[in-house]
Amino acid sequence: MASSYKDEDGHITVSGSGAAAGAGGGSLRSKKPENTAFKQQRLPAWQPILTAGTVLPAFFIIGLMFIPIGIGLYVTSNNIKEFEIDYTGVEMSSPCFTCAQNFSWNGTKPCTCSVPFHLDQPYESNVFMYYGLSNFYQNHRRYVKSRDDSQLNGNEESLRKPSKECEPYAKHGNKPIAPCGAIANSMFNDSLELIYNDPNGTKVQIPLTATGIAWWTDKHVKFRNPGAENTNLTVVFQGTTQPVNWRRPVFQLDSDPDNNGFINEDFIVWMRTAALPTFRKLYRIIQRRSNVHPTLPRGNYTLEVVYNYPVRSFEGRKRMILSTISWMGGKNPFLGIAYISVGSVCFLLGVVLLIIHHKYGNRNNAAEISH
């Protein structure tokens, strides 16, 4: 009797103290922390432990993956044909030397020069014609800032009142500059023509397409002429003045109304500032005409330059580049080489580690076992 009573009591005590020491029992909220995996920090976890078993295959796999990619990239890059010619006219012998020497932004009479060159191989498919500038810091902070996006987006108010970011190229005299800013002001204004010297003596001008060189969104969304569609640009830009270094106002950049004003593609391309001081910008596209003839056959060419753009003040260089492009862009052997070498290094490391592992790993294991 007594013992059973005690048992009961004992049982009650145990359960009671389990719930809460206080009198409330179950009704009292216990301060006991919840026993969840999260709160008790017992969440299942994956521990990235680097062992020979995981590292070696990883090295091999990466090596095996990278090398083919590298080879692919390298081959692609090598298949790209690229031709580059410097027409700055620094040397006395250069045809553009004279033009380079007597330069002024406001010169009325354009200086022209012709640079002959020779293409060793025919260029199939579309050929992209670039102009390249060296030592031109389009990425300079003040330079980059010096534009008014809303003006370029066709905002009438900004047209009249350019942003202060454009200073000191916001106004000329009392008139607002359109397009304002240093970037627009320093727009590249050489015009380049390609002439193919046919072996039979005739000179064939290569047709250059001036449209499609800017991003579609830039041309159609970001850059817009002020005013409604198809209005006369001359009227729209009434009351503004051209940038100081420009020879023509912005509404006379091109005769094609779809390529004039702010949506002139040369202008748009220029306005997308380059990342590095040596850069190229797309100038024209030479469309492939037929499947039979190459776009640019092998042979002699002449680059006719209207030399407007001065680069000597900053020891810059001007180049003309002809290039075919591939899915990976222009010619650049770096990526391919990098991939190949990284892949090879990985592979080699894998091999070395494998050898080490074979030589010493077993011994270690043996030693551990013998312990």
Partner: protein, 1251 residues
Amino acid sequence: MERFHWVRHRCRQLLSVDSERGWYSPPDGFPSKSSLQRVSGKRRTVLARHGPHQQEYEAVSRKYKGNGIRTTKYSLLTFIPMNLFQQFHRSLHRFANVYFIFLATLNFIPIVEAFQPEVSLIPILLVLLVTAVKDIFEDHRRFKSDRLINNLLCQVYCSKQKSYVDRCWSDVRVGDFVRLSCNEIIPADLLLLYSSDPRGVCYIETANLDGETNLKQRQVVSDSSLQGSDFTPESFHSRIECENPNNDLNRFKGYIEHSGEARVGLHSSNLLLRSCTIRNTETVVGIVVYAGHETKAMMNNSGPRYKRSQLEKRLNTDVLWCVALLIVMCLTAAVGHGLWVKNYRHSVFQVDGEISPALAGFYVFWTMIIVLQVLIPISLYVSIEIVKLGQIYFIHNDLDFYNEQLDSRIQCRALNITEDLGQIQYLFSDKTGTLTENKMVFRRCSIYGVEYPHVENGVISGMSLPPVGERLLLGKSMSCRSLSCNRSSVSLHTLTAESPEEEDQLSNHAAARTGAFCSRMAKDVVPDPELVRKLNSLCSSTLRLRDSSTESLSTLELTYITDFFLALAICNSVVVSSPSQPRHVVPEAQAPLKSLEEIKLMFQRLNFYSFSTPQIKGSPRSFTSKLFTRGKTGSFNFNTPPSNSIDGSDLALDTSQETYVQSDEDSDDELLYEAESPDEAALVHAARAYHCTLRGRSAKSLLVDLPGIGSLVVQLLHILPFDSNRKRMSVVVRHPLTGQVVVYTKGADSVIMDLAEKRRGSEQAQEIYKHIRQQTQKHLDMYAREGLRTLCIAKKILEEDEYEVWLKRQLLAESSIENQEELMLDSAERLENDLTLLGCTGIVDRLQEDVPETIEALQEAGIKVWVLTGDKQETAVNIANACKLLLSNDRLLTANCGSKDACAALLEELLIEVRREEDGEESSLHSTSNFILVIDGRTLEWALQDELKASFLELSCKCKAVICCRSTPLQKSQVVQLIRDKIGVMTLAVGDGANDVSMIQVADVGIGISGQEGMQAVMSSDFAISRFKHLKKLLLVHGHWCYHRLANMILYFIYKNVMYVNLLFWYQFFCGFSGSVMINSWVLILFNLVFTSVPPLIYGILDRDMPADTLMKLPELYGAGGTTKIYIPATFWITILDAFYQSVVCFFVPYFALAGSDVGILSFGSPINTSALFIILLHQVIESNTLTWIHMLVLLLSTILYFGFVLIYSAFCVVCSHPTNLFRVETVQMSQPLFYIICALTTFIALLPRY
């Protein structure tokens, strides 16, 4: 023992409460007139609000604050400006915020601006916003609690209604009369004018103020005119002059001036402090002198503690390095830009062509500071706080820190030193209550030289499950006892070595019984059967005198036993209360039983024999001869039984005993003892187990139940309270039975044994006494060896004239003002001599569970464990033994010396010994003995002096552990400070009592154990745990983790910043150091603040380098194994270098891949930024040791957020974000395979060395 007395001592100092007679320590007491005059400019006058001096009251009280409190910092209107102001004044964030503001303003200067101004405001706004939200949250909580407090009701006298009416606390003004009844909380600082207690005292509990739960006594203003039953506020015309509000709790000076009468001094014992609770007093009335924020309680309210962690200090140096790095980078840029400008002064792309290179360079310097601002990991501070909160959250939620008995978790009071837990090198532990339970359980006692082992008791207290409940039902215990008696008697003889089976049996048995014996306080005592038998014979002997069972007892022994328990019951300062009538004095009940007279008679007779009177000189001989020959004594003593109708009284007693048992049950339910120390409570409970129950206490008398006798009123003449010099306390009472004046003294064995040396009286008596003394000493030694806390109980019978003489002196001493303390001491010493030793008690304070394992683990972890205790050396060593601090092959170095020179010599000697041993150890590898230094308080005093510090340090460093016994709280903190400062290690102090507070505060990490001794330790601690064993997991697991996590997080954070910022820096080489960026400014700012801010937090909160059980199993992993090595300068610089490498890869791979092409600025930045994101995230994946789904989720979210933001931003934002308009850049980029090829290559190369 000493420690609780220290506590008492301290609280007395603190609140200058004194015992019955009300002697006040002079320093706090009466202000001399001159001093009052001196401070007259700074005093306040209090007049009754509704008294006759209305106008004067208005004039005087106008500037006094009301009682409403407002602890909120802000109101709705003032929040924004105030919060901003506060944030910039907060010490922690000040630097960060000022830095942000500095950057933001820099960015508003057009010439140096790097981003649009609004972008650069984002970081500061975000930080301010986060902090503000946190502040609002906190403030709202404060507001709610304020409102709660302000709306509490109290009774305030209203002159219109001529009665006390309920008012809100906030409406109480200075000069109001407040009436409070028992258990009410005091609304403001009141001057006590009236108490229902006839002596004009009132008890308050200051738990809300200082956590002490014992009662303090307050005195009505010592002015007869006020006291009395007819106190009415109307009749109060006095003027009170007192100090201006200050925060000194134990100081209150002033005087009360009645109209035209003399001044009466006021002191702190007249003051009822706000937020204390009235106890044990029906009604009190007081006049408000300080209200609201001017109360002492409020003025003492200081903010939360802030400790700077070690890691943060290191971090600060690294942040300085980052600053240096930043400046170097900016200088490079500035110089570079200067040169560049010089070369290209008049280029077509040079916007400000006319600027001089130097000036341009200067501007660029500042621009670069803005551009590279993230290099200074300011948001790191916020991140660290968040991480620590997360860590605290997990510590707080750890199931292993949950204590079921107390229903308590770990309390994390300091939020910012979690990682210090992982670097502890020295642990200083208190003994009592920390290593041990501090549940003092009466374990055994020795009376009259006879030892009562209380075997069952030992079993119970040896159990891991502490008994729960509060019932000691006599009937049940009796029945249990009858069941267990056989066993225990068996075990008594055989169980010296405690065979495991029997122990099991017994503990099973005991465990089954816990339902009946459960006591939350674990104060229950299973009486020793032998002693119960003897004690029972007291009642039976008087009533059933012919019963043969009484024959076996010597009456002298019986008196000893009775006196012993009486002493246990009354020689204390325990306050009795019952839950139904909380803390009220149990009304004095009389109704002594019929046989009282008889017992009295017996007692007189016994005393007559055993002590004093020389008249029966002859008889003791026969008495002693019969003392040890059983059988005869009984008849000898009780040959003249005074009882008459035996049968009738037999019957009567039988019934009365039954009813007594009944009433005992009932009353046991009710009685609650509130002792100042667990020891006292244990003794009172022990006495109660023998039915020697303290039922109530009033100022002049004590109500005691005696077994078989019933309630007796014991007239209390004096209490000589404990002090640490005397190491004892005494009560002077008039013995209820004999009517003699008796002094009962309870104190440390060493003192009592000395005082009980001499005995007057006959040779035989002396012989017996000597025997008792010897036996008792033997038992004392045994107890000490067992690690029990020993106390000796002694008594002394005073002759009336003797008492008179003493009383005069005592009163003189009390009334004296100068050197009162000395006089009191002197007086006490005069009383406490020639004591008769009654016996001694052994109180077990058993070790908490798993203490040895914990200490072992901590030592394995490389933490030196020191024990600092106020206990005796033997006890301390014993406990050290028990908790495996001291192993059998350790060598004990004991340092006890009396003088400084001796101490110096001793230290030198020990040092030489240790050194020799060390040298020997080097040659012979197998000697494993470690040194344990045991040093006592006095020696420590010398050792801590400047000249000896060095050798003490050296010695203690060479020892495995140090045990400081008999140390004072000050010494404890000095030791900690010495070690902390001189060796420069991380120290942790753990303790549970008020005497550990200073140590806890001094140590780098202070841990309080929420135990039996109030809350002071917890209040002053950084972490409060309920069990010592929790330290193991707290340090080994959480400490390790927290340190690892935080250190890695910081490194990762710095890495992240350096890596990212360097990308921008490298670009400067290609943009003429112009401060141009190739990444959109929003992306740039948000990259750190949003896209990559959560992963390091998760890393810092959730990473586990090793699983918890591994860390628990292998404590070695804690110490030198790695934790302290993570965050050292080398790792910092390696991290920086790694960041540099990665940024170089991350920048130059895309550079070479895109160089010479027609790539635009932002198109160029896009793959770089994306690669950086991948590198940073994958870097963490590689670095972190655990990856849970949370990690994955966060990483995924970061990526998605980045791409989502960038894509949406670049898709729809046509003209926004001026210089770095992202329109269509990213979409175009991400549609090109080249982008992915570059990203993959970059990420892989950057992370390759990590493999």
